[in-house]
């Protein structure tokens, strides 16, 4: 079946109808997923990192193995920093004077390095993952 729009307004109307149908169809599914995820319980252990004078504190953070944790990073500097780690597979901009959250794990035991992409010489740290007894 071939469509042959008779004039510009018909073509425009067809275009808008088709585009809106396609986008609304998927948007509804995405919205339902998002709402469900937003309502999911968040009971992960919380750890904190801060950035001051382009240095992460503490420089070594110990977290439990095989468990997902939440790390809240607060940037006290007046410029943004980017938390970057290939080991952890995370990349996140932390805006000046703001807090941001990254989720890490579950990970096996080991040492995972990270750095601040905008100040890589000073902003460096490690996350050490260890088995913790309950």
């Amino acid at each position: 079946m071939y469509s042959q729009p008779k004039n510009l307004s018909t073509a425009l109307k067809n275009m808008l109808t088709n585009a809106l149908t396609a986008f609304m169809y998927v948007f509804l599914f995405i919205a339902s997923v998002w709402i469900s995820l937003a309502n999911a319980k968040d009971d992960k252990k919380i750890y904190h990192l801060s950035i001051k004078h382009h240095i992460f504190t503490p420089t070594t953070l110990t977290i439990p193995a095989n468990e997902k944790v939440k790390i809240i990073i607060e940037n006290h500097d007046d410029v943004a920093e980017e938390f970057e780690s290939f080991d952890l597979n995370r990349e996140k901009v932390i805006f000046a004077g703001r807090k941001s959250t990254i989720y890490v794990g579950p990970l096996p035991e080991g040492t995972y390095e990270y750095f601040g992409e905008f100040h890589p010489n000073t902003a460096r740290g490690k996350i050490i993952v260890v088995e913790m007894k309950p």
Partner: protein, 237 residues
Amino acid sequence: MNNPMITIKHVLTVFLLLSSINVFADGMVVDKVYHPYVIANEQEFEWRFMSSQTPDSNVLAQRLGYGQSILENFAIELYVIGERDETGDFKLQATEVEARWMLTEQGQYWADWGAVFEFEKRRNTSQYEASAGLIVEKEFNKNSLTVNLFVIKEWGNNIENEWEAEFRLQYRYRYLPSLQPSIEIYTGEDFIGIGPGFMGVKRFNGQKQLKWEAGFITEVAHSGKNHTLRFSIEYEF
């Protein structure tokens, strides 16, 4: 509705049903496997190359794009697309606008979710394509499994007015930043392809980084030669 796993199963079921729609082949299925992440304050230039060879044709498509994140979780990218036409000339054939939306924080849930929306207009003719895709990525230690499910609508003059569905999958081992081998699967438009690929990244100062991706996909659903080489380079800053 409060159980995310049930909702995710419903979404995947619907998209898998859509993926089984059998449609006429009129485009290249092998393209990029999208990841569900957006980095704030990021701009990029992108070059994509795709060459597909069959006994009857040698299709070549390239695209140049510029994109930037306009929110912490939302990015826009504009492309110009060049393709080899029926006379063998390589010409600008289409323009496209793309929006990527990071739906969940990386690592927060069982899997990471994103969405991509594309709108393409063919040059000098009233042919259009709108697509919406769901992106899911799951990490297993140093491995990442990424799935893209697209619903596509094509319409306009001299083109079949049709719905299509495409499925893309990439299983990647994050061996080194510069070398992350993968296996990729593409289905859609009466096409099932599989093949090896790799991606890598080289970081420079600040947010500057160069990313590369390549894949060699072989069509396996039909007899006869049908290979597609794809690669892309992105400069992010």
